[in-house]
Structures are given as structure tokens and as C-alpha cells.
Symmetry: D2
Subunit: 412 residues, 4 copies
């Protein structure tokens, strides 16, 4: 692809709006790893990674698959102070498509898709939802459409073709409210199950609203019934969470922060029925459903007031599925530009594929840069273009695929 072609593809302009921080208000959300939507994303991705590794091991290349439709059907449980029990398991249905039969030099090889899916899902749950008894409280099922491939016919060399007309969007840097939202969930989540924090489940949702300089952080955090013997103790747990969030905020924000924890609680009901008590750490245990693609975007956040792609990144194959790799590219390119070019206030990246065309030949790769006050956009343009050029190289995509398969890229 010559320079001329790239010129037509890459469009770099000066951003016309205000920086997010300068806007009157911001709304930012993060669904934590015990949230049903996050679980659906995580299992979709885990299955994709497992499949990719299996393909790589057996055929030295990643074959076509797309398992970006995982459904988490909530179960049923009862909880009271000090105890509780799942009475109807969480049901997880992994659906999508994969190459399930491969002909290699006349030999027909069947992919052990079932055990692979089940293993991947269980391993993730075991590792990440510490109070969940996977073998008893979860049913893993799958509906993977079958596909066949002849290894000889696969074009292994060259750059893959885009499998869809799809859009990736990214930006840098995170605003303070965004950093805060992400940190609150990640730091709280890291404590789950640790000493003194046995009561904290992984289902933590953080919603931040900045109005002017004031930030309201609403945290919905699942409290483990087994570690909460009374309404009083429940209240203490909430206090502890609140204090922790204030501590986290202190490190990040200068302005006025107000923290709300489990605001829907009915703190007058001594039976605990009106509280956010769980047995397993996730609200999926008592009816909350989840689905892939309904949670965080590729930077870990939901930022409705920013440009944002609707594509699910989780579960898609990391080679040719532009709905995944273009979103990763967009965030990585934005970060690269922001970190390498001085005096940038904000940068947005938008990339749109052309179905059937090489993935490094999108319809458009648009970059919008908002310089800091008094900095000149003109000087930034050429540098940004150069960086963008590098991102459209086959080497970049190869490395990204490799990074995704090895879990080195945030996807949700």
C-alpha cells in the first residue's frame, strides 16, 4: 500500500469540541468483574483465547471463530444474615461459531470444542469469582455453530481480510473522572476475599457523575451474606467500602467527591431482604442476566458522552474480526499519539473497515487532535500521520493478535 493510498485513508484533523474535562458534566460507568455482563464478556474472550491457542498449537495459525454471544442466565438464591444458598444454578450459554473440523493433508481433525468451552469458562469463574462454587452453582452450556476448513486452502501468508464492515473508536487520555471510576472498581475488586475484605463480592458497579467540579460516585457492591451477621455489620461493610473509595479518590481527584454505596438498600428491614446480599459474589445468582457486549468498552469504561463503538470486543477472533481489532487499534493508537506527541490535550481515533479488504486498508482512519492551549495543531499532524502509518503495518496487527491471545491487552 503506497503512501498515496494511505493519504486517502488517514485523515487527521483538529478536534472541534471542548475537552471532556471542560464540559459541564460527565457520566462514566464501569461494570466490575462479578457483574453478569462482565462475566459474559470474560467467558467469551476466554473461550476465544483458548480456541486460538488450540488452533495455534495444532495448525500454527488461528482459524476462524466468533463466540461473542455469551448469555448469562441468572439463577435463584436465598440469603439472610450469616448464610444463604444457591437453589437454582446460574446458566451460562456460550454461543457463536468456530472451525470445528479441519482437514490437514487428508486427515480430518475434530476440535474438542465442547470440553474446551467448558474448561475455559470454568477456569475463569474459579479464578475470578472467589465465593462461587462453579461445580455446583453453575451450568455451562454451549451452542457453537460448526464450521469446516481445509488447512491447505487457507491463505496463511499476507494480511487477513476484514470480515465485516465495522467501526473502532478510541481516545486518550482518560479524564480524571474516568481514571477515578476505573480505579475504584479495580482497587475494590483487588481486595475481594482478602483479609478483612471477605465480605466483598466481585459484583461491583461504579457510576460517576461529574457536575462541574463535583463528582458523585455511586457504588453498587455485592456483600457476601456469609460474612455479614447482622444489619449492623452490613452497615459497617458499607462504611468500610465508602472509606476505601474516598481514599482512592484522594489519590486521583482534587475536587469535591461524594460517595454513595448501595443506595437502594432498605436499611430499616432487619431481615436483610432489602439489602444487596449475595452468596456467591455475583448478582447473577438471583436473577440478573448478562450478555456479551453489553458492558465496558475496550478501555474498561462506558463513556456515553464520548464517541463510542457498540461492537463487542470479547469473543471475536483476534486475527480478522475488525469489530475487535479496530477498537484495540483505536485506543492503542490514541494512547501512542498522546504519549509521543507533546502538548496534546485529547486525541480521538476512528477507524472503519471495508469488508473483504485487507485489515490494514480501512475505509478511513480518522484522527482528531485537540492541542493544549496555545499549542499548534499543524506541528502535530505529520507526527501523528507517521505513527498512524506504523499502526497500519502487518507487523502491528501480528503483534496485536499475539498480545490479545496472551492476555496483554485490555478488552473490557
Amino acid at each position: 500500500m503506497g503512501v498515496q493510498v494511505l493519504k486517502e485513508i488517514i485523515r487527521i484533523s483538529e478536534y472541534q469540541g471542548k475537552a471532556v474535562e471542560d464540559l459541564d458534566y460527565e457520566v462514566v460507568e464501569r461494570k466490575g468483574k462479578g457483574h453478569p455482563d462482565y462475566i459474559a464478556d470474560a467467558i467469551a474472550e476466554e473461550v476465544s483465547v483458548e480456541l486460538s491457542k488450540w488452533y495455534l498449537k495444532h495448525f500454527s495459525c488461528i482459524l476462524h471463530h466468533n463466540v461473542d454471544k455469551v448469555l448469562v442466565v441468572g439463577g435463584q438464591s436465598w440469603r439472610t444474615f450469616g448464610k444463604g444458598e444457591v437453589v437454582q444454578p446460574i446458566r451460562i450459554i456460550v454461543s457463536g461459531r468456530a472451525t470445528t473440523e479441519v482437514t490437514d493433508k487428508g486427515e480430518r481433525i475434530t476440535v474438542p470444542i465442547g470440553p474446551l468451552v467448558i474448561n475455559a469458562a470454568k477456569r475463569w469463574l474459579n479464578k475470578n469469582i472467589h465465593m462461587l462454587n462453579v461445580e455446583k452453582d453453575v451450568i455451562i452450556d454451549y451452542r457453537i455453530g460448526r464450521g469446516a476448513a481445509e488447512l491447505e486452502r487457507l491463505v496463511k501468508t499476507g494480511i487477513p481480510l476484514a470480515n465485516d464492515t465495522s467501526l473502532g473508536i478510541g481516545y486518550a487520555p482518560l479524564s480524571t473522572t474516568e481514571k477515578l471510576t476505573l480505579s475504584v472498581e479495580e482497587e475494590l475488586s483487588a481486595k475481594c476475599g482478602s483479609k478483612g475484605w471477605e465480605f466483598l463480592g466481585e459484583d461491583i458497579k461504579v457510576m460517576s457523575l461529574r457536575k462541574g467540579k463535583n463528582i458523585n460516585i455511586t457504588v453498587a457492591a455485592a456483600i457476601i451474606a456469609q460474612y455479614t451477621s447482622s444489619l449492623e455489620e452490613y452497615r459497617e461493610h458499607k462504611e468500610k467500602i465508602k472509606e476505601e473509595v474516598y481514599k482512592i479518590a484522594d489519590k486521583i481527584v482534587e475536587g469535591n467527591v461524594e460517595v454513595f454505596v448501595n443506595t437502594a438498600d432498605d436499611m430499616t428491614d432487619k431481615t436483610g431482604k432489602g439489602l444487596y446480599l449475595v452468596v456467591t459474589g455475583t448478582s447473577a445468582e438471583h436473577g440478573d442476566d448478562g450478555a456479551t457486549g453489553r458492558g465496558n468498552r475496550a478501555n474498561g469504561l462506558i463513556t456515553p458522552l464520548r464517541p463510542m463503538s457498540l461492537e463487542a470486543t470479547a469473543g471475536k477472533n483476534p486475527v480478522s474480526h475488525v469489530g475487535k481489532i479496530y477498537n484495540v487499534l483505536a485506543f492503542q493508537l490514541a494512547n501512542e499519539i498522546y504519549s509521543r506527541i507533546p502538548k496534546i490535550r485529547e486525541v480521538y481515533v476512528t477507524i472503519l473497515s471495508q469488508i473483504g479488504k485487507p485489515i490494514n486498508k480501512p475505509q478511513i482512519l480518522a484522527i482528531s487532535i485537540l492541542p493544549e492551549d496555545k499549542a499548534s495543531f499543524a506541528n502535530m499532524k505529520y507526527e501523528a500521520e507517521e505513527i498512524a502509518n506504523q499502526f497500519l503495518s502487518p507487523e502491528y496487527f501480528k503483534k496485536m493478535t499475539d498480545d490479545i491471545v496472551n492476555g496483554r491487552v485490555r478488552l473490557f
Copy 2:
């Protein structure tokens, strides 16, 4: 709620960015009614409407439910010129929660949830996907979590409480590219199955990219195999679609439009394997999965470069589920402001709930107005505030619920 309170909630400001039309580029997408994601949305909503009507008929109020997690698992089919067949049905799993048992004056009434779900799904499919043989090619299943209610304890008067911390976003008016994208799908879709258009399936996806004044419209349209006897005829069908899109565009756009139809087709393969042929009108027949909330937003479009809510509107109860009603409100309020106040170029509405608080008492209702050149924002502010005040009245929400249940509101 006094005026003072509303003052704190409603924030009206001048929009700080450029109008979308003035931006360098735009990307707009619409998934047509045969797209698996649309099907998942439509069935979720149909089930919610059906449930709402059942509750209204029996108890004069809409009880709690949320069926916003419908999964469409793709089937398997073979297609060639002139014929084809589904060999593995599409499987539709309706999941969510509903009030399934109601105690009314001591009598226990069971909601016929199963037949109701099945009926609603089949009816929609029968009515909307004209070549689909629902009784043979689709399996409808459901996993609805059970819930019980005592009618006496339900607070029937007063304004409902928000069931979640959730965000609604809307704007007005549509840009030309947006109007075009919507019209193309809707006008093509209206022709499906009509005389001369028997070959056109409802699975139509439109993706528009505007660069400056030029708009590229990429249409992926499912072509019915039974009405396509040869590669030549397939080519004619594509031509016919292309011409039609140009006609539609002529009515809406003045600039340069280029139309692409089924660009991934391999037009050299005479067996038809590389073409977008279908038997039923939807790609769900051969493996494409769909899920509620993964398709169009409440104005019928996916507009990644505009502020956009990730919430699914489909399937949620139309009384208290803010993820649904706040998105409807945001678009309706934006449209109302735009149509009633002169000289507005663009208006954006953002509304964030407070879980457990009355739905007409959000955390924030923010309105950003971009006046036309030379028009003054100051004059618009008070009028917008007044309109916003009306939208936060119980009457507005009651009417909206009523409109949703009667199918008078676009949701996706």
C-alpha cells in the same frame, strides 16, 4: 417537586462542539429488521408488550419484568441458485425475569408466561420475516426467572421509583447522513416480498460513511435464493437495490453519494457459495447470532460519533426501567425542544437516574443546545427549561408508558 429542586436537576448549557454536519466525517449504521440483533430486540420488546398488556388486563397495572436478554442462536442452511433449505433451526432463547405469580385477595394467579412468550415471538416473526417458516425453522425457548407479587402491597399510586442507576441520551435533529441511513433501510425493508421484490430478504444492514460532502453507503442485503435462479439474476437484484438506494438518496442528499451492495460477494463463483444468499430472509439461518441491546439505539440508528447510551431499550418494563424510559425521554425531549424552539441547530439531552428515587427526580437532566449561526442561546434557555419541566411530570411518564405498550414509540 418544587421549582427549586428542578433547578438543581435540570442543567441547560450551550453546546460547545461543532454540529455533526460540520464535522469532517460521520459514520452511521442501521441494522434492518431481519438482522439477528434486531430480531433479538424486537422479540424482547414484543414479549414485554405482551406481558404488559396481560398485567394491565388482569390487574390494571404493569407488574415488574425485564426480558432484555434475548439470544438468537444462528441455525444452519444450504442455499444455491433457485433453492435452499434450513437444516438446523434458528434457536431463540428469551431470558429475563417477570412477575409470574400474583396474589390478589388471597387468590393465587399464575401468569401463563410460557405460551405468552412463545406467542409473542412467533407472531412477530410471522409478521415481519416474510419467507421464514416459523413453525418449522425456529425453536423458541425461554428462561424467565420467576417472581411473585402481592397485588395489595403494590403501590399503584404515585410515580414509580427508578430500578437502576442508568443513563438516557438523545438528540435532535437527525443529520442528513442519518436520515439517509434510516430511510434506505426502511424503504428497502418496506419492499421485501412485494411484487418485483420477492428476492429481497429483511436482513438489510446499512453503513454510511460521510467524508466531507461525499457519502459512501454500504448495503448488505440478504437475497432470497428461491427467487434468484442464476449468478446473472443475482447481479440484477443487486443492481436493482443499488438503483433504489440512489433514488432514495436523491430525495435526501444533495452531495455525492456512492452505493455499494454486498461488497463481500465473490461474483466469480458460479455455484453461488460466495454470495449473500438466504432461504428465510435472515442471516440467522446460517450461523449469525444476535442479542438484545447490540443493535440500533432508540432513534433507530447506531451513531458512534454522537453521545450514545449503551442501555438496551427493548424488553425492559416501560414503567420503572430507566434504561428504557430515559432513552425514550431523551430523544423525545430533544425533538420537542428542537421543533418548538426556533433557530436551534442541534440539541443533546442527557438524563441520569438515581436508583430508588422517583423516576421524575433524576440525578441530572442536562440539555445542551447549539444555536444556529447568529442565534442567541440565552433566549432558548428558559423555553427549554419549561419544556423539560413538563417532561418530568408524572403525566408525561404515564403517557410514555401507554405509548410504548401500544407500539407508538420507536425503540430500535
Copy 3:
């Protein structure tokens, strides 16, 4: 197969026991066509027939399949006098194996197994359970293991090989109690839905106990709630059934008959909760499960005091699955011997296959004849042997397969 070989296979002996009619007591049962086990049998067989016809149409031979594991999972319904409703559908899972892909002269043909299964099941239900709304109150699902065949490699000529080591058992004639049991169900069943009998559902189970000369007939008959406005009318329905059974008995039995209808009813409960009321005609609507092979044997009866095969006949392929065809053969051969050879009181046929051997070369074909008083067994032996020889001919098996596929053979 020479005469010598047949001599070793066919063993004809004089029966050593008493005739069933002379025994002190008899117990005979028949599950009617609305019974969940019967439904499971009927759908299994319907699917096998449909598949067989499809194979015959496309390849002129019946390919391997075995769908003899159908599970009917009961639903949930509420019933009261005059009305009722299914609230959770009956779920029918068709499981087994079939040839789903066939290579014929290089072309790969996929069997539309899903639609075929669904169609077959729905058609049978629509035709046979008159009050059941199949589209609303039933979910048909399937789990058919896939199999591939290369048409060229199939041995189309010659006699098929037994696919299992399996036993068939038959006898003739029916005893009076057996005739009575069969007639009661069949004649009642024939009335379902007809004028004056709208109240009668197809789920009719007849259990007869003969002690000496007295026969107790216990009939469990599902009564349609919609046609039963009161406890009084329910009582009248039961009376009507009882009278009808007495009429039927009068034609068949000379001894003392006593008829009991729905003996578990609580006739004191005016709400109808303790009665056998249904909405659809089958108890599967409120929880009764059914499974293939758990109901009637190949003569339509369960006769625990007679020799009896445990093999399910329903759903197995009618070409090589000895569990099916040997049971048909055993009953047909017994009937043939009984009708052609005079003065036989009873005849029993037992046939055991040898897996992998031609189906007309069983391990043993044993015939036990009980002559009438004073008749001589010696004269019967050679004639019976001759008839048996004819039944081991390829022509007999071909005709049987043909008869089964065309529904001319009773299987349950």
C-alpha cells in the same frame, strides 16, 4: 442359508405352562395415546418414519438412524371447572442419532434434520391430541447426534446386518382380558372430541386385573376442564365413561366385570383440585413426564405376566435395528402360526439376534406351542417350522420395513 443352518436356529417345542386364561389371575395394562409415554413413543416413531421416507426419496434406501430416546418433560397448567390454561409448555426433547450428511457422487447433501423432526412431532400432536394447541403449549427440541455416510460405500443389496444383540418376543392370541383392555382404550380414544364426548381427553390408561373369572378394569381418563362446568358434570362424565366401558366389556367378556374410573379423585372437593381435570387432554400439561420405551409393547399392551421384551420398538430404524424388527416379527409370526395351524391354544415366539450377522440369521428363533386339549403337538411342529422359514426370508424383512414406514404395523 441352507436348511441345515435353519434347523439349528429354529427351535420348536411344546409349551410347558398353562394357558394364560387358565391362570389364577392376570394383569394387563394399556397406556392410551395421550399418555406421556405413548406420546414419547409416537413422536419417536413419527420421526423415524419421516426420516425413512426422506432417505428413500433422496437415496432410494433407508439410512442408519435411531431416535428411540424421546423425553416428554411435563409442563404446568391450572384448571378449574369450565376453564384452565397451560402456563408452562410441555417440552419434548427428541434425542438419538441419524445420518445427517450423505456424500453422493462427490456431492455433499445435508439432511434437514431439524425441520424434519419438528414437523413430524408437531404433525402427530396436532392430529392426535385434539385440545392441545401445539404452537403455544409445546416446545419441541432435539439433540440428534450427527452421522455421515458415503452412499457408494453402503451395501444396498443383500440382507442387512443386525446392529445389536437384542431380543424379540411375541405371542398369540390375546387373552380375553387383553382384548378387553385394548378395546376399552381404543374405543374410548376414538370418541375423544366427538359429539357428546368433547369432555374426554386422550390420556386414558386402562389397567385390568382378572382374579379367576372376575375382571376389575381401572380407567384413568383425563377430563377436559373446559367441558366440565361443575363437580356434578364431572360426575356425569365419569358415569358416561363407566357405562361405555361396560358396553365394550359386554361385547367381549362373559364373566363378571367391574369398572372403576378415576379412583384417586377427591369427589368432596368442590374446587376441583382433587380431580383429574386437564386443559389439553394429556397429563403432560401438569408435570407428568414420559419417555420412549416405557409404555406399551408391540401388541399395544403391557403384559407383565407374559414373556415380554424390554426393547423400545419406537424410533429405531426399520431396516437393521433388531430391537424393533424382531419384536414385530415375533408377534407377526405368532399370529401367523396361530391363524394358520388349527387347534393351537397359545403360541410364543422368541428371537435373539447375533450382532453383525444378517438379520435373518438369528442366534435362535424359538417357538413354543400350547395345543388345545387333546390336539397333538407333533402335527403342528413341521407346519410351524415351515412358516418360520418363510419369516426368515429377505422378502419378509423387506415387506416388514415397507409396512412399518407406511404405518401398517402396530408398534405400541
Copy 4:
């Protein structure tokens, strides 16, 4: 129940036929514990036992349940010498009904039915199918109809009422062929996985045909691929099994025994495709389905030439479900009579319930005794009647229930 009533119920007569051993031929079958039908029985029963224990622990009585419809849907695997893999898991669907909600003194207690079912099934599989990786190669699902009970209303005292019109049949003693058939499976099965027998899977089916004095034993034994490196080794495994069966036979039979192992094998195919190789020890891994009630009767055998009940014993509640307890009673009573009364050649027991009547008040309890040559039936009659009387006491049923729950009774 007075003596008079019992007189009408208990009928004792002299058996009119020949002893089984004197018949010309016998056919006896046993499905081993790795057979899909056995697995379905075992899991059904394990779930019932687990439920019973749960009810006993929480309410001191066993509540209503019936889970006698378990379906084992075969998976898919590939096998070759030395290795193999499950590619599609075995799916086990536990269906039936249970009391899932209990009101006790106003408190509503929910039975953790899901985890309980899953646990019971997994534990049995883990313990009994030694090469099966339950967590990876099996999906356990369930469809248990819900039921509610108010503890106060349950009649805890007194004898339970029969829930159905159902028949139990038993006899004693086992014939030599029967003993042999049972021993072959049990002794082989006991070796599975032990030193030197790692190659032997639990799916062992034994079919015996006695013609006169000669017994043909056909053994179908699953051979573990991972412990079979070549066709030669496979042959050795078969030889080893054959020798073992001859050894077992030597201890039991005096006549001529011939043993056949895996007779359907294609021993000329060096790829191993035509052999009975498995990865997990059960043929359910590659497509063989199983269902409760389709395997062994309550004495562990299928004896088609003997009187035999069709009722599944597995999974039914051990308190009031006569389909279960009457079969246990019939075999236990036959054994008791046989062991306590000298000079009995054979004894048959038949017992038929009356739905809604106390379980110790059947319609008939018939006992047929065949005395040894020259022994007098007359002397036996009164003793048998006395024993039968004891079996119709509440104490007997209580003890039987207790024995079943504690696994002290053979059921299949």
C-alpha cells in the same frame, strides 16, 4: 387390616409352569454400570436418595418427588490406538418433579434443587466411571417440575397411600444362567481400572443364551483407547476378558459355556475404527443414548422370559411410589419365602396397587410356588401366607424406605 381382608388380598397358588431351568432355552441380559441406560438409572436414583436425605434432615420426613426420567444424550469423541478425546460432552438431563418449596410454621423454605441434582449426578459419575472427566466431558442439566407443600398438612403418621395403579413382580431363586450373567458383569466391573485392568471400561453388557445345557455368553466390553496401543494389544485385552469370563463361569456352571467378546469388531481394520474403543469407559461418549427404566429390573437383570414389571424403580420416591416399592417388595418377599421354606423350586410374587389406598392394602398380592419334585405345596401355603402378612405391615415398608435411602437395596 384384619385377617379377613388380607385373605382377599393375598392369593397363594401352586405354580403351573415348568421351572426356568427346565425350559429348553433362556435369555438373560445385564447392562453394566457404564451402560447409558444404567447411568440414567443410577443418576435418577442418586438424585432421589439425595433429595430424600435432604427432606429427612430438614423436615424429618421424605416429601413427594419422582425423578424417574433421566435422559443421557450421547456425546461425540474420537478414538484411536493409544489416545482419544471427547469433542462433544455427554449431556445428562434430569427430569421429573419434586417438592421445591415447603412452608413450615409460616416460614417458606426453598429446596436447593439445582445444586443438589448436579452434585448427586457428578458424585455418582466420579465414583463409578473411572476414566470420565466429569468436569470437562459431561454437562448436567435438569428440568424438575416445582411443587409446594405445607408441612403441617402432611399426614406424617399412618401408612402412605399408593400414588398410582402399578405392578410389582419378583421371583426367587436366580437360575444358573442368571447368576452367571450377573456375576460376569459384576466381577468384570469390579476390575475396571485396577492393576492390569486399566484398559477395561465400565460399559459392559452381558447377554446370555442358554440352549439346553449350553450357554453362550456375549460380552460387549468397552476398551479404553489410552491403554490399547495396537490392534494386537486390543486382541490381548479381549482374550484376557474372555479368560476371566471362563473363570467366573467355572465357579457357577457345570455345563458347556462359550464366551464371545465384542463380536461386532472388525479385527482386520488396523486403524481401530471398527473396534469398541472408548476414551471415558462409556459408549455414551460417542452417541449412545440412555434413559431411566430401560435397563435392568430390580434384581439387576433383564429376564424377558420371566414375568417382569416394566416400571422403572430408579428415581421414584421410596415412600409412596408403588412402581418402586412394590418391585422391591416382590423380590424381597420371593427371596424370603424361598429361603425360609424348604423344598421350594421357584417362587413368583405379583403385587398390584390400588391408587389412593394405603400401600399395604394392594388389590392383590399373588404368590405362586413351584415345589421341588415330590414336595407338597399344601404345607408351604400357610407359611408363605404368614411371611406375606409380615411384608404387608407398616414396619416392613418403613424399613424398606430406610434401606433404599441408605443404599442397602439393589434396584437395577
